[in-house]
């Protein structure tokens, strides 16, 4: 039961992209198509599961003082493995993801889960956490990628030639450009927050934020503080 709970929490309740807002660099950079999103998501999933497992296994061995270097070494190792394997077996995808594969090392989701979860929980639960978080990350990327690709290119590319394209669509290029990534992420975050607050209101756990955090009283956009 616990296993199951740890598994599904990353999909919605603690979705790394939309709830924890972690790993924004790949989120914004590679979500120009569903294919890239899925590739990135899978790579992250693999690294996340492996690093969670290893960190959980070694959690009693690693002294607290050097735990971050140890985690980074473990994570970097798995990232390099993914990089090499992807280069060997999915060369085209490796080409389009480019630099972002090595950059998985600095994806806060992975270090975050190692630090916050795997280093404190048993192997079994860490596996569930890694799978759940990885899948949640993948789903988030795919959702973002789908929105951007559909709007910005008029197509949905799942993998290689498994592709569906709108005929005669005039692409809304902004969506696929860098600013479009921010805008699409912001819109999806807004929708998620809206849904969450509706759910919270229904279950009676709704909390009204303090007034000075309300946009209506913020002077950031007017006086810069």
């Amino acid at each position: 039961m616990t296993f199951y709970r740890e598994l599904i929490k990353g999909l919605w309740r603690e979705n790394p992209i939309f709830r924890l807002v972690l790993g924004m660099c790949p989120t914004l950079a590679v979500t120009t198509s569903v294919e890239n999103s899925l590739g990135m998501g899978m790579a992250t999933l693999f690294v996340l599961v492996c690093s969670n497992l290893v960190v959980s296994l070694l959690r009693n061995l690693i002294p607290a003082k050097v735990r971050i270097p140890c985690f980074i070494v473990v994570i970097a190792t798995f990232v390099t493995i993914v990089d090499l394997f992807m280069n060997a077996f999915a060369h085209a995808l490796h080409g389009s993801l480019g630099l972002f594969i090595p950059l998985i090392v600095v994806n806060c989701v992975i270090l975050g889960r190692a630090e916050a979860f795997a280093s404190k929980h048993a192997l079994w639960l860490s596996l569930a956490d890694g799978i759940g978080m990885g899948l949640g990350f993948t789903l988030g990327l795919a959702a973002l990628g789908a929105c951007r690709e559909l709007l910005g290119a008029g197509s949905l590319t799942v993998w290689g030639d498994i592709k569906w394209a709108l005929e005669g669509y005039e692409p809304f290029l902004l969506a696929i450009l860098a600013p479009g990534g921010f805008i699409a992420l912001g819109c999806l975050l807004g929708v998620m927050n809206h849904v969450q607050s509706r759910l919270a209101a229904r279950s009676g756990r709704h909390v009204t934020p303090p007034q000075h955090l309300d946009c209506r009283h913020c002077v950031m956009c007017r006086f810069g503080k």
Partner: protein, 341 residues
Amino acid sequence: MNPQADPRFVVSPSPHVHSGVTVRRIMLDVVIAMLPALAVALWFFGWNALRLVSACVVGCVAVEWLCRRGMRRDIGVTDLSAVVTGMLLAFNLPPTLPTWMAVVGCAVAVGLGKQVFGGIGYNPFNPALVGRVALTISFPVAMTRWTPWRVPSPLSIEAVTTATPLGAVKTALSSGEPMPYAFDGRTLLDFFLGNQNGCLGEVSAAALLLGAAYLLARGWISWHIPVTYVGTVALLAAAVRATDPAHSIPVAAHLVTGGLMLGALYMATDMVTSPMTKRGHLVFGAGCGVLTFVIRQWGGYPEGVSFSILLMNACTPLINRYTRPRVFGHGGRSPARKTTA
């Protein structure tokens, strides 16, 4: 005492009188000020101008209404700010743009440029410019296609030219050709009156100045932003022209072609997105001027007004912060230097 029945009166904090200025009134005056330019657009671009302006106004009001409804806020469309945004957006579009693209622009302008931030007063960027830039980036081909309806070539070299004066000059200069226009007095007068290719609202500096004079007289804009904006562009243009006359446009041509007048008079002066103090206006106008000139002279686009205004919009909070008035009785210290809690 007095037999007269004791009436109860309204009790409210002072002051008990008001200048009578309302947001709606200001917006209405802005719309009135844009009418001369609209008339010029109708004269030169005909049906297309009517089509785009009505599409944008209706689109912006509709999007505003939908957003307010969706967010369960009071429906604020009666303040006419969406109408102003719609007209400004239409003024920034080329005459042949498909209607559906204009409507997409409205959705971006009002939806992403304004309502996402909380509606009127909260938007950091000028909504009409957000819409225009989104369209420029997304549909670069449609946004740079100019097919005039009643615009004769100022020098009658050809009956029809398909580029804006600035665009034509940029292309010519970048490929080492001579300038396509002579920019003598007659051409400049033609351009000043609106006899040129361009976006709907930007062609006639004369009409824009007429409307801006009305806004100035009503006190809704101050001279600071337009004068420093146009002045900075003129100054830089004069400097570059003096050093390299072969590869630069005359100062006067800078002022009467492209969107400089529209931007300086109607969009840089937008109350919500420009600084609040007069000194802030000076900084803002000068910043817009420098950016516009840099983009026009050395950048990839022939025109840089919308980008420079948006960039300066982003600086507005900072300008506001450092151009606060000196508080009475506080010597020369600026309160901005003191940190708040």
